[in-house]
Each structure stands twice: as structure tokens, then as C-alpha cells.
């Protein structure tokens, strides 16, 4: 932790999160999305890259239920999931 006694070594300094803290989901409104996400993770050997769609769905659920400040999805790093593929009908994008 940051109680290392030597002056030369770097110690860890915790930083506050960029967008603050998530309010607690006391009523389990987004539990279903969370379960989908966890199942996806377990099926894909915990590879986050394969489950980004589910994580996007979970965050959208939070935003819909006032459990998270509404943000455009690019700001959350989901720009690639938002771009509509030019040749197909898009299912992912949200205005």
C-alpha cells in the first residue's frame, strides 16, 4: 500500500474515479443485464473484448433507471459498437 517506508520507491496514490461513484442498485433493476454479462464472461473465458455488447447494455440500463448519469456512448469507449455498419441495418446505435 502507500505505507512503504523507503523514500525512493513510488507508492500508490489512489485517484478518484473520473465520473464519480455509481449509485447502488438497491432494487436490482439491472440485475438481468448483469447476469447476461457475467454469463458471457464465463462462456468466453473472461475475455472482456467479447462481452462489450453486454457491458454496453448494462450501462444503458443503468442510465435508463437513473443509476448513472446519461452520457453519449462514445464517451464511455463504445464508439466501435455505435458506428452503424454501412452495408447492414444497424442494431447497436442509440441516438
Amino acid at each position: 500500500m502507500s505505507t512503504a517506508m523507503n523514500f525512493g520507491s513510488k507508492s500508490f496514490k489512489p485517484r478518484a474515479p473520473d465520473k464519480g461513484a455509481f449509485p447502488l442498485d438497491h432494487f436490482g433493476e439491472c440485475k438481468a443485464f448483469k447476469d447476461t454479462f457475467m454469463k458471457c464472461l464465463r462462456d468466453n473465458h473472461f475475455d472482456n473484448s467479447k462481452c462489450r455488447l453486454q457491458s454496453k447494455d448494462y450501462l444503458e440500463c443503468r442510465m435508463d433507471h437513473q443509476l448513472m448519469a446519461k452520457e453519449p456512448l462514445e464517451k464511455l469507449g463504445f464508439r466501435d459498437l455505435m458506428d452503424p455498419p454501412p452495408s447492414q441495418a444497424d442494431k447497436d446505435s442509440k441516438p
Binding site: F12, A16, D18, K31, L76
Partner: protein, 244 residues
């Protein structure tokens, strides 16, 4: 009086013994050649002016030393803000330098070749009665890609408990690349009796992680959260806001 001064001054000079003998010889010589009164007078005047010279010299030296001392004290006070400025400019000691721009999240591209395993750890303080654990032990992420992870906390007691948490990232140097967009730390979280909640952490690893030569060997990052019980009336300083 005069002779004790003389002795003192001569002992200050280098080669004092030689000077002393020479001086006594000179004194004897002068005493024999000149009348006693004149000798004393001229010697007195000469030594008095020498005394004054030494006195002013001592005073100058002391003034310089005092000025140096005051200068040192002033420097040690000035060092605190100067060092802080230097740290912010150079990023020493883990202060925020690389990529703490929230705009970066929108424009960063994932570095797909570099897969990092992030393991999760959950701790509670001894007097904290929540059951707190991660819902996944590890997750594989790449720098530049946002990731979601969950912890679960349950309050098994019959009274509401308010908790507050902090986190730690190991290895320490990787901690500056580990950015949390949103989590559940540093704010009071209240759990009612027998309530269980999911606590998400939304984070990403800065893409510059891949370019840092010190991080070339790092393949595992451990994120560790610790929950403490928040007491009434206790106000914890929010890290990162109290220093800057």
C-alpha cells in the same frame, strides 16, 4: 588587557607559535629602542586598529553566516511548493501525468495485441461485517478498451451499515495507467439489513501503457478494494482533491 588580546589574536593566526616568538622578539626590540611610553602608545594604536580590523572582519563573516542560515531556512520553506510543481511536471511519485483526459476515452483505440489479465481482490476491515467479494476472479482486457467488472456486497446483520471503500492497484507503476471511469469507491454506500447489491467498476487501461518500457513485463494487474465502516460525523478527504 592588551596582552591578552594579543595572545588571543595571534593564536587565531596560522603558525601562531612562530608568530608569537617573532612578536615577543619585536616587542623586546621596540622596548629597547624606543622610550617606553612611545612604544606603548604606538603599539597600542597599531594593535587597536588591528583589533578594529579583526572586529569588522568578524562582523562581516558573522553577517555572511547569518545570511546563509536565513537563506537555508527560506529555501526549505520554498521547497514545498517548488517540489510539488516539479512533481506535476515530471510525473514523479505517481502524480497524474499520462492520459487523464476524459476526452481520451472517446478517441482511444484498443491495443489488441497486448492482453493484460486483471485480477480482483476484495477485503474488508476487521470490524466491517459486510460480505464483500468479487464476482469474477480475473478478466482479460487490452489497453484502450473500457471494461466492466462486478463486486458483490451483502449486509448479513440486522442493522444498516454504511461502508466506504478505497482501492489499490499492484504493481504500483501500473496504477497510473489504470483509470476508473466510474466505481463505488470513496463515497458512502449504505446497505440495509440483509441486503445484497452488485457493485460495478468501469475502467480502462491507458493505451500508453503499451509504450512504456517499464511496463513491458507487466502482464497481470491486481485491483484490490477494501471496505471500511463509515462512522457518523467522519469526513474522509477525497484522494486527489486534497493535494492539488
Amino acid at each position: 588587557h592588551l596582552s591578552s588580546w594579543l595572545r588571543g589574536c595571534i593564536q587565531m593566526l596560522p603558525g601562531g607559535a612562530v608568530a608569537r616568538t617573532l612578536h615577543f622578539q619585536a616587542e623586546d626590540f621596540l622596548r629597547r629602542r624606543l622610550p617606553a611610553r612611545l612604544v606603548t602608545q604606538s603599539r597600542g594604536r597599531k594593535w587597536r586598529s588591528q583589533q578594529d580590523e579583526w572586529r569588522t572582519r568578524n562582523k562581516t563573516v558573522l553577517t555572511y553566516i547569518a545570511a546563509a542560515g536565513v537563506g537555508m531556512i527560506g529555501l526549505s520553506y520554498a521547497a514545498v511548493p517548488l517540489y510539488r510543481l516539479y512533481c506535476q511536471a515530471s510525473g514523479l511519485g505517481g502524480t497524474a501525468v499520462a492520459g487523464h483526459d476524459t476526452e481520451q476515452v472517446a478517441t482511444m483505440t484498443p491495443v489488441k495485441e497486448r492482453v493484460i489479465k486483471v485480477t480482483f481482490n476484495a477485503d474488508t476491515h476487521a470490524s466491517m461485517q459486510w460480505n464483500f467479494r468479487p464476482q469474477q476472479t480475473e478478466i482479460f482486457v487490452v489497453p484502450g478498451e473500457t471494461a466492466l467488472a462486478f463486486y458483490r456486497a451483502k449486509n448479513p446483520t440486522d442493522k444498516p451499515i454504511i461502508g466506504i471503500s478505497t482501492y489499490n492497484v499492484v504493481p504500483f507503476e501500473a496504477g497510473q495507467y489504470f483509470n476508473k471511469i466510474q466505481c463505488f469507491c470513496f463515497e458512502e454506500q449504505r446497505l440495509n439489513p440483509h441486503e445484497e447489491v452488485d457493485m460495478p467498476v468501469f475502467f480502462y487501461i491507458d493505451p500508453e501503457f503499451d509504450e512504456d518500457p517499464r511496463m513491458a513485463r507487466v502482464e497481470t494487474i491486481t485491483l484490490s478494494y477494501t471496505f471500511f465502516e463509515a462512522k457518523e460525523g467522519q469526513k474522509l478527504p477525497l484522494p486527489g482533491y486534497s493535494y492539488n
